[in-house]
């Protein structure tokens, strides 16, 4: 003979479930590349998510840091190699290149012309919208050091630099969509 014993959920547990806040929906983007064709979707998705009430975090790392350097900074870094890197990929949100079909700037120029003709928001306008809507841009501490970037090289309003474990924690929250762009 077997007896089924029903174990009631201990009181504090059931209370905890009932009083739990509805989980916030989240979008996490790892923004790894700094090119126009990557920055555009990053900024469109993050501004749309923040506008739709999602908690939105963008981890900016490797070449993805460079668009968040102030536009007027031409060469950044401490040693010659870091300086060379920014000579090869000009920093700043207004100086983005394409990964493919760049053709010495012809590609971005034509896309820029078309986007203006069709009234598509520029990366700079989208970045401004993201910041107004509270998108958190988290610079990667490790790559900031590797590129020789200092906080004063970067635009205002960025979050505190962090590392991979911070991003993993964000990405594994419930109701979270994560993108690597």
């Amino acid at each position: 003979m077997t007896a089924v014993v029903e174990t009631p959920i201990p009181q504090p547990f059931s209370q905890a479930f009932e009083s739990a806040e509805p989980t916030t929906k989240q979008l996490v983007i790892i923004n790894w590349s700094g090119e126009l064709d990557k920055m555009w979707p990053t900024l469109i998705m993050s501004s749309a998510a923040a506008a739709s009430g999602y908690k939105t975090s963008v981890f900016i790392t490797f070449w993805g840091l460079l668009p968040f350097v102030k536009n007027q900074r031409r060469v950044v870094g401490e040693n010659w190699m870091q300086k060379m890197l920014t000579l090869m990929q000009r920093p700043g949100i207004d100086h983005l290149k394409l990964t493919k079909m760049n053709f010495m700037g012809m590609g971005p120029w034509m896309i820029g012309k078309l986007s203006k003709q069709y009234n598509v928001a520029t990366p700079a306008e989208l970045l401004e919208a993201c910041q107004a809507l509270g998108v958190e841009f988290i610079p990667c501490q490790m790559t900031m050091e590797m590129f020789g970037l200092k906080r004063e090289d970067m635009i205002d309003g960025l979050g505190d630099p962090a590392g991979a474990a911070t991003v993993i924690e964000l990405m594994t929250q419930p109701n979270t969509a994560s993108l690597f762009i």
Binding site: K25, I44, S47, A48, A50, A51, S52, G53, Y54, Y118, N119, V120, A121, E125, L126, A129, A132, L133
Partner: protein, 75 residues
Amino acid sequence: MATATRLDARGMKCPMPIVKTAQAIKDVSRGDLLEVFATDPGAVADFGAWSRSTGHELVASSVEDGVYHFVLRRK
């Protein structure tokens, strides 16, 4: 009685109509209406999704001469 605020998003492309709507609805009192005018055909699907994501009710939507008209109620 509910009062309506108007937002002109004509000519704007994705994602700007919902970005501007999200900013405009902050200045609307709870239960009041926000009317949005847009010309981006993508806005039809996007305003439905935006309403479901945010919980602000999409009270009405219509189109006339290529201009979409959305009425939203702040939750």
